[in-house]
């Protein structure tokens, strides 16, 4: 039996954040896919990135709930198992059509996460009350996040869309499998961008002065920061206009959340001094 190491009181309850994150991620995924289809454009692919940001915000709070118990292996391990189990659920979901895929990813991730949580809690005997629930949540988070990043890169989350390049967009070579999201292993970059973004906020903010709003702002900042390289990688797949929209959304979102995070850090700091360069003493 393990005991809580960190205080968990204060801030929005975890259930609220979970439902908000889940619904926001699903709505953003469907908005991106639906609007792209409706206007036959790539412009709305950035909604995938917003889905990833919603999942990361939810993920930071889920990881906080689990890691408050002191799992002994460090916070990053939860980020890694989140994406490790999420990628499997996400890729099986890409076999289904666009209106089933996010739901299938959710269901498969719940199953995989629940079994991993059972293994960790009962077979390995971690005996942490929130273990099963947290493992289920982080698997769903990993799956939705990766699906969102995939949609932002390629405008689609179907296996065919992710494993082939659509011909003739930027005058690139005709359809090939080697240069695609999966074929060129861009999925590995998205994987590690998501894994680091989801584990970093709590890892950076934990401690006696932990405040939920500061951690969540950092989580959103990490999400938008991950969107920026994804937006640049989408140059290979999307039209120029769509790429510009993605870059503007991610840079603007990052700038806003980062400045907000700085304000919150100044609020929570004991004192704030503008550091000056160390001056060399003269005359020696």
């Amino acid at each position: 039996m393990t005991v809580k190491v960190e205080k968990i009181e204060g801030g929005t309850p975890h259930d609220t954040i979970m439902w908000a994150g889940l619904i926001a991620a699903l709505v953003c995924l469907y908005l991106g896919a639906g609007l792209n289809l409706m206007f036959n454009a790539y412009t709305f692919s950035f909604f995938g990135g917003l889905a990833a940001v919603a999942a990361i915000v939810w993920g930071s709070d889920a990881i906080k709930g689990l890691c408050s118990y002191g799992i002994g292996t460090g916070v990053p391990s939860v980020g890694m198992i989140s994406l490790g189990s999420g990628v499997i659920a996400m890729l099986i979901a890409t076999r289904f059509s666009w209106y089933y895929a996010p739901i299938v990813a959710l269901i498969v991730a719940v199953i995989i996460g629940a079994i991993i949580g059972y293994m960790a809690n009962d077979v390995i005997m971690m005996k942490i009350p929130v273990m099963r629930r947290s493992m289920t949540e982080v698997a769903v988070i990993g799956a939705l996040m990766l699906m969102g990043l995939a949609q932002m890169t390629t405008s689609s989350y179907s296996l065919l869309g992710l494993s082939s390049v659509k011909a003739g967009l930027l005058g690139l070579a005709p359809a090939s499998l080697g240069g695609s999201f999966i074929g060129a292993s861009i999925i590995a970059v998205a994987f590690i961008l998501g894994a680091i973004a989801v584990q970093h906020p709590f890892n950076a903010c934990l401690g006696p002065s932990w405040k939920q709003d500061r951690m969540i702002m950092l989580a959103a900042e990490c999400g938008f920061l991950s969107m920026i390289p994804i937006a640049f990688m989408s140059i290979a797949f999307l039209s120029t206009g769509a790429v510009i929209v993605s870059v503007i959304v991610s840079v603007a979102g990052w700038f806003y959340t980062y400045s907000q995070y700085l304000c919150l850090s100044k609020r929570d700091a004991a004192a704030w001094l503008d550091a000056k360069p160390i001056r060399e003493p003269e005359g020696h």
Binding site: K7, G72, T73, S85, I88, L177, I182
Partner: protein, 278 residues
């Protein structure tokens, strides 16, 4: 805020949970046997994935993980977390093995094992150099009086108030064994999934067998990474933080990690195979 000691992890095994895990494992294997017509490529791949996952889960227990106390010279081992260390060794092995896949299963698996072992050996060597010449601390185990391999006495070199420090020889050797097992397991998973995808993807993507190779390699690689991380983190939870290697008392906990790895790999493996085989 309540300050409590680090979790020690439960002792013993939970018979009900273990039985349920084994039933789940057998059910998945049986379902694949029935659905895919007996001893086929898919069935062989699933068995290889499960074996690979168990090897990873077992191998992690050999790796000397020190965590933050090791960085301060207060505990023996490499100064980082289990997940990072195991993933580093396993992925180095996986990349080594992936390049050797055209030479056949045995060559690929051995190359993967050597890749992982080499990565751990280099890490342990430089960790020891830094501990000895950079931080000025000798290598001494806190868990055993005499090094089980070399027979050197440890207690005289151990500072008071620490659990040992540096990287004793047995931990070094354990790290290399752990890296080997992790590399073998990762490569086995990669090889099995690659064969399934190379077989099934041409029909799925309506492309020639040579055109789907990048997609098959990438899919198998990302699933191998995902399965590796799942098994490594489960084993890390079993160790709960730090271990010295195979001479650490925590090593005796490995059976439950193997049960957990078998069941988790079966679940993740069947989903990964179904991506192409469905």
């Amino acid at each position: 805020m309540t300050v409590t000691p680090k979790p020690t992890g439960g002792v013993g095994m939970n018979p009900v949970a273990n039985a349920l895990s084994i039933i789940l494992l057998i059910a998945i294997i049986g379902a694949v046997w029935i659905l895919f017509g007996g001893y086929t490529l898919v069935f062989k791949a699933l068995i290889a994935v499960i074996l690979g996952g168990a090897l990873i889960g077992f191998g992690v227990h050999f790796v000397p993980v020190g965590g933050a106390p090791a960085a301060m010279g207060q505990a023996p081992g490499i100064a980082t977390g289990v997940a990072m260390l195991a993933a580093g060794a396993g992925l180095a092995g996986l990349f080594g093995g992936a390049f050797a896949v055209p030479l056949g299963l045995m060559t690929a698996v051995v190359a993967g094992g050597i890749g992982g072992a080499l990565m751990m050996a280099i890490t342990c060597l430089f960790v020891t150099l830094i501990y000895t010449y950079g931080m000025g601390i000798p290598s001494a185990s806190g868990k055993v009086k005499v090094d089980p391999i070399t027979g050197d006495s440890q207690a005289e070199y151990k500072s008071q108030g620490t659990e040992g420090h540096g990287l004793p020889f047995s931990s070094f050797a354990g790290g290399v064994i752990g890296g080997f097992l992790g590399g073998v397991g990762g490569t086995l998973i990669y090889y099995a999934l690659l064969k399934v995808y190379e077989d099934r993807l041409p029909a799925l993507l309506a492309a020639s067998a040579s055109a789907v190779v990048p997609v098959a390699v990438s899919l198998a690689g990302i699933f191998a990474v995902g399965l590796f991380l799942v098994n490594a983190v489960l084993a890390a939870y079993n160790i709960t933080g730090t271990t010295e290697g195979f001479h650490d008392p925590k090593f005796s906990r490995f059976p439950r990690a193997i049960v957990a790895s078998l069941a988790a790999s079966a679940v993740c493996g069947i989903v990964a195979i179904l991506v192409a085989a469905m």
